[in-house]
Symmetry: C2
Subunit: 322 residues, 2 copies
Amino acid sequence: MAKAITLLESTRTDHRAQADELLTALLPHTGRALRLGISGVPGVGKSTFIEALGLYLIREQGLKVAVLAIDPSSTVSGGSILGDKTRMEQLSNEQDAYIRPSPSGGTLGGVAEKTREAMLVCEAAGYDVVIVETVGVGQSEIAVHGMTDMFCVLQLPNAGDDLQAIKKGVMELADLVVINKADIDPHAAIRAQAQITSSLRLLAMHGNPDHDWKAGLVWRPKVITLSALKGEGVDEFWAVVSEFRSMQTGNGRLAARRERQALAWMWERIDFGLKQAFRQHPEVRALLPQLQQDVAAGRIAPSTAARSLLAAQTGPAQAAAN
Amino acid sequence: MAKAITLLESTRTDHRAQADELLTALLPHTGRALRLGISGVPGVGKSTFIEALGLYLIREQGLKVAVLAIDPSSTVSGGSILGDKTRMEQLSNEQDAYIRPSPSGGTLGGVAEKTREAMLVCEAAGYDVVIVETVGVGQSEIAVHGMTDMFCVLQLPNAGDDLQAIKKGVMELADLVVINKADIDPHAAIRAQAQITSSLRLLAMHGNPDHDWKAGLVWRPKVITLSALKGEGVDEFWAVVSEFRSMQTGNGRLAARRERQALAWMWERIDFGLKQAFRQHPEVRALLPQLQQDVAAGRIAPSTAARSLLAAQTGPAQAAAN
Ligand SMILES: Nc1nc2c(ncn2[C@@H]2O[C@H](COP(=O)(O)OP(=O)(O)OP(=O)(O)O)[C@@H](O)[C@H]2O)c(=O)[nH]1
Ligand SMILES: Nc1nc2c(ncn2[C@@H]2O[C@H](COP(=O)(O)OP(=O)(O)OP(=O)(O)O)[C@@H](O)[C@H]2O)c(=O)[nH]1
Ligand SMILES: [Mg+2]
Ligand SMILES: [Mg+2]
């Protein structure tokens, strides 16, 4: 399995063709796992929670658990977090656990693609639950939401916290909000639970096709409290996840979600490829610096500059035909 | 002026080249106007407010006022709203007012481009204030924010209203929030003002480069109450706008904002052009339906399909070199 993932992560051109073949061969053996996204700000307790959950799933439920991560800082620094293997010490010693840190380097899109592909390998290798973790910063949450069956947001019981999540557009993605560290101040946790529940109700009016309350037999995002440190509430968490899964399977929304994700992912990769080819085109590279200056200085209208650059890439013959 | 705008809005290829020449010739005469974005849900009172503001600016301040609109529904229905010319009856009879309904047809990007270009024509024609109105639905607010110096959100004094705006990511774009219809229940308006002010403070911690409170002499989004129907508060509104304008001019942020907008707009048009050329490419059109089905059915990985389609557009020779 590690070899397969390494092949998929290789950037060598000849490896890429092999990797595509491997992926296509694996696909029929994927899709049976539950894909669980876990997000939350640094320090909220993601590692502690994932360790507790993983141990519970292996020891109490007899399941095999893989943990993958998308760390947006790894795309900037080029260095990957080792952190979680050492922090999830007990889990990483389990036979039925597989923990892989975030791939490093490249764009967020590239890192997300590698994680997606690693997820498929884990599924083909028989893991029952694939957890994809990300820290609550930037676009990485949207990427994780875009590759999982259920997206969970961990929160601290602080007022204002949920407003940040709403602002970032993450709250409306949450199928389940987990208020962690309930052991510190149980009353604050309960208050946060009530507040977030009412926010979610207001948010549910628009947007997320999995939460459209008007559409009948549909999931209503839940809010639970939990203590990852004491392991309290992990069984309730799993009960909610199981309820969500059976509802989404029964009403056909799990299949629809995965289909939507696959197509969205294809288009995202196409967009990226188109932009990359554009930026690398010699004519575009020759013209771009001056045109950007002219646009910034207000000497050329942005739309005029865009048309010139597009024509430069297409070449004079085709440009004339446009 | 109307002729120039009609030329810019033409979709004929030969007109487009002329239009680009015209734009480039106009550009040196643009940029002196204040570009004011006004957004808000249907019925909040945008037309009533813009009429009151326009009359105030013309009669009390001796300014020339242009009103443009981006109506997202016009991109769907292909029909443009006439509404505002008839609803802003007094304003449309003023010598120094120019009111143009939303261009219709095409994508939101295309409609926004025409509005942007019409704005430049108005500026070159000597209008002092260009108001760009949009209804608070979908992506059109982001488009209007992307072409104006100051973005104002009109709100009703209802609780929950602001949460919707926060959720849609519009609230953090607001340089000024106007709570309209304060005449109906002044106390509710004051309560809404306090609540939105505190939300804005929490939101200001991230994101909008024009509102970074840690960065010294910087604008803090304001919230005012107003009655568009009675014309109460319009002078205060203009005082806040003038304060914003002189601050943004003094600290260089107005110029930086316009530069950012111009470059973002260029890249948006490039993106759109790249995608359009891709979708129209004969090889891509031949392959796409089957590949989309295969991806949706899980027979091919999305990234593999994306690579095939990109290679199809590039042609066999270049694809092999990738
Ligand atoms: N009291 C209490 N402390 C907790 C709980 N969960 C986690 N912690 C503590 O919070 C701190 C951060 O926990 P982590 O699990 O490392 O948090 P994280 O979200 O993985 O943080 P990053 O990896 O930095 O993003 C550690 O000191 C944990 O022991 C909890 O339920 N209760
Ligand atoms: N009481 C009161 N009514 C107002 C006020 N402003 C607008 N209205 C009324 O609210 C209704 C809607 O006003 P419009 O100006 O048409 O609202 P709009 O935002 O332009 O609406 P759309 O064009 O449909 O998006 C009209 O009946 C107005 O008379 C106000 O300040 N107070
Ligand atoms: Mg951690
Ligand atoms: Mg109106």
